[in-house]
Symmetry: C2
Subunit: 370 residues, 2 copies
């Protein structure tokens, strides 16, 4: 029989779109011996995870939980619980993850009305307002931080418009949560979701979601049960709520990891964490420009945790990434969807956002592209 | 702001229905620094996990992957990919997890035809044959090891009948895989699923699934895309297959843990592992009977990894469990569904299946119930 060796992967510096490098404290917490998922000690831990998630989402929403799947599962939970067949949904698309929102909403029978913007651009509130004036929608969904393009979508003022027309606002903050301000209550966002493995600094495997009172009302008023049993928030809220009704067996170790990662976010403080992410991103931007590289997104809508940089003409972008990985143990990513082959994507998220990491990458890139 | 302490849960001996106690080697592997999910080293690891899962499922099925959710997600994947609205599905129900199969299949629009058996009993092949003769079904689903009752359902001969009537056979082996023989190919099961946290000995968070060629054909012949995007096996098979098309970010650390747990299963050998599980279960059964307790299931259909034992009259079953946990750091479970309040459920799964654990539990129980 084939022999399998000890796990022996290389010590990568993770500067792609996630997972980001995980701090030793988080790894150590994850390796803590397990308790059962209905153990009073685990239930206390579930409460703590929920409390800390509320702090990072900047919300008071009771229904704030880590979905027991990745950020993609949380995205699906944000749609499948609120869409019933025939419901009208307006989705802003200016990258890969906007496309995915359309795909998922369509699978649950939504009438999907896409608003498109060229890759690299953002939406104005007025575009949504014009579309809703034409015809209201049950949901309006868009991506706060588009991981495929490196663009940050401003959120101010959007909820007012969506609510005026009777809709719910869904926000993808997979790449922003914990790295740049995400103000769920101040922005009056109804449903927001993220992942564990980017700016929160835990391994991949959990998908935090927060659901506000308007959205809970819509959930409670559903005619039919949610098609998706695993992501049914009415069941999940009983498991994570005071009833503790068994639904599935929560991933114990992943919740240990998320708890420790959230604890580190709170210890650092949100504002200090955002400032760190910005300072290291600026160091990166400056360094890339010094190397003669051109950033893909203008500074005013550039995403801090994930930088997209144009691949210079004549350079084999995949070969550079491969050399970075093989020679320097540094991971960055290529483009995704419309940006494929055109950009590199460099993440400075969570524990990966350190000046020495930026300098290592800049030094390696200099050797590979000059 | 509230202070959160270092993670400091008690060292529990996990003798409930899962998670089972995780071996230090698995915990250590899980704490290994992360690589990216598209790193060639992770892709090699994905291949290894798939190979080893095929060994434990005793199958050659190419489409054998760990779903990035718990066993409940794998259960849903086993139904939602194959059921289209109006499809007829026959489900054998003699416990909580049979009920859940009905719930999920119904959500995807199946015509659910239940076969019921009293809790504690098993089905005869003839019962399914009679039902299929009456009317064929696209899927026939049942639970191999019913975690809520402690019963093992024999599988021999069932697939022949199901296939003769043109259906696919779905088997829940959440509580059996890695603890008692699960022979997917020999039994000709089309779709089987399990979890990571029971007899495989990894933490909760992944749901292994294996899909045979007949089922892949049905998947490929679907009219509409699978409603459930996250669990869409046509997308997952491209991510885990040779194309490596990005779908979601696999839970890296969980796959590290599963790989190490599987490696330990293969090192021990399936037959030796089954023998160990049986020997320790027999030690438990004997000891429980010596204490004057009555086992819930007759020995001929009794499940090895999970024993159900009747709560003696006059005993507060929850108080006993609470004392076991608080005084002795031992977790066992109460009943679930129809067995609630009537039985205790004692798991001897994976690394938890050790004679010294059995003796510790028996000693503690003796002090608490006599």
């Amino acid at each position: 029989m084939k022999q399998y060796t000890d796990l022996n992967t290389s010590p990568r510096l993770l500067l792609g779109p996630g997972p980001s490098t995980v701090h030793p404290r988080v790894l150590r917490a994850m390796a803590h011996p397990l308790v059962g998922h209905l153990d009073p000690q685990f239930i206390a831990l579930m409460n703590e995870v929920q409390e800390m998630l509320r702090v990072v989402f900047q919300t008071e929403n009771q229904l704030t939980v880590p979905v027991s799947g990745t950020g993609s599962a949380a995205m699906e939970a944000s749609l499948c619980n609120f869409v019933e067949p025939g419901d009208s949904v307006v989705i802003g698309v200016c990258g890969y993850f906007g496309e995915r929102l359309c795909d998922i909403a369509g699978r649950y029978g939504a009438e999907v009305r896409r608003l498109d913007r060229p890759v690299g651009e953002v939406f104005e509130v007025g575009e949504f307002e014009a579309e809703l004036e034409r015809k209201p929608a049950k949901l309006v969904a868009l991506v706060h931080a588009e991981t495929s393009t490196g663009v940050l979508q401003p959120m101010e003022g959007l909820a007012d418009v969506v609510h005026r027309y009777g809709g719910l606002l869904v926000m993808d903050c997979v790449t922003s949560l914990g790295g740049v301000p995400v103000k769920v209550d101040e922005w009056d966002v109804d449903i927001a979701y993220s992942c564990s493995q980017k700016c929160l600094g835990a391994p991949s495997g959990l998908g935090p979601i927060t659901v506000g009172p308007r959205a809970v009302e819509v959930l409670n008023a559903r005619q039919a049960p949610v098609t998706n049993w695993y992501l049914d928030l009415s069941l999940l809220s009983k498991y994570w709520g005071s009833e503790r009704t068994y639904h599935h067996t929560a991933p114990i170790s992943m919740n240990y990891a998320l708890r420790e990662a959230l604890r580190m976010v709170l210890e650092e403080g949100l504002e200090a964490r955002f400032a760190r992410h910005r300072a290291n991103a600026e160091l990166l931007w400056e360094g890339l420009q010094d190397l003669g590289l051109e950033l893909f997104v203008p500074v005013e809508r550039r995403l801090v945790p994930l930088t997209t940089v144009k691949v210079p003409e004549g350079i084999d972008e995949a070969a550079v990434r491969s050399e970075l990985l093989q020679t320097y143990n540094i991971e960055i990513a290529g483009g995704l969807g419309a940006t494929k082959g055109k950009v590199w994507r460099i993440g400075l998220m969570g524990y990966s956002s350190q000046p020495q990491n930026v300098l290592a990458l800049l030094g390696a890139l200099e050797r590979l592209i000059s």
